[in-house]
Symmetry: C2
Subunit: 168 residues, 2 copies
DNA sequence: TATTGTTATACTCTATAACTATA
DNA sequence: TATAGTTATAGAGTATAACAATA
């Protein structure tokens, strides 16, 4: 358990991290914004999956996922096929052209990181990865355990949710 | 210098960090979005300053800073007074009501972090702070050293810039 | 002419809500 | 009735460009 001033400093670093995020976003091709890149990356890493699973991995609402996916499908980078076992579901899968796109993105990103973090040791990069993974885990299931809303405000999720979707 | 797969993993963590950011955003009062909170925090930490300095600390374009500041001024949380030494400039300063708002935000944020990171040691939180600060430094001056733009794309900043503003 | 700041416009990401189709 | 997914709409954040006032 850390002290309050430490939490304030951590919050400051979180806020400043936006600059890193934006810088990484600048190397994306104009037809492949961040949302599309995230979809390609997750499909590349985890293989074919349903929309709901992708929404969970992206940690955003399924409506958002649907929009990102539509953009990527339009460009032919993934295919959206029917799930024979449940006709409501759709299975997402990288196409060969999507794999090429992903490889290119991956190469470009690694290049930029290698450039900016040239004086970081392997161990230091690993440390940051571990801490951020743990951070994510401890904040994980954000949408299933909503924070106490500000007084006078309506909570964004009225009850415990076990899905990553808009309440009906 | 780390390996490529490590950079890809790091990128994945960066991407997933969005969920943490959004969760932290959910505890903000509806009249104080993230941009306003960042303005208050930086003025509280560094004291009165000019727009250009604030834009530099926020690491966003001055046009964005201007918008955030206008929102905060409208609510009476900061005052925007003329700089006697340069009539083009404006000095920003927290008002007493802004200080109260900031204290409240700070308290609420520390509370959420203390809750989510309850099993992190003081040392671990410090480690994350140090690594993120270094990350920010190594990505720092993003706008003054633009990354190589994608092939076939126009660079966002045509030349080396030494200010945080839209090229005229 | 160059600099400080503001405003108008456009784009991305996100959430909520309403809707369709299937279970 | 509940679930998977889509679409419409609204709000926040950001960047670029054009502009006004001052240096």
């Amino acid at each position: 358990m850390a002290e309050r001033t430490q939490y304030e400093e951590l919050m400051r670093q979180f806020s400043a991290f936006g600059a890193v995020r934006r810088e990484l976003g600048r190397i994306l091709p104009s037809d492949c914004p961040g949302g599309s890149a995230a979809v390609l990356t997750l499909l590349g890493r985890h293989g074919a999956m349903r929309m709901s699973r992708l929404a969970e991995l992206l940690a955003v609402d399924m409506s958002v996922t649907s929009r990102h996916v539509a953009h990527v499908v339009d460009r032919g980078w993934i295919e959206r096929s029917a799930d024979p076992s449940d006709k409501r579901s759709r299975i997402l899968r990288l196409t060969p052209s999507g794999q090429i796109r992903l490889d290119e993105l991956s190469r470009r990103t690694a290049q930029l990181l290698a450039d900016r973090l040239s004086d970081w040791s392997d161990e230091e990069v690993g440390q940051l990865i571990r801490l951020m993974a743990r951070l994510r885990a401890d904040f994980g299931d954000c949408r299933t355990h909503p924070a106490q809303p500000p007084p006078g405000e309506t909570p964004h999720t009225p009850e415990l949710e076990h899905t990553t979707r808009t309440p009906a």
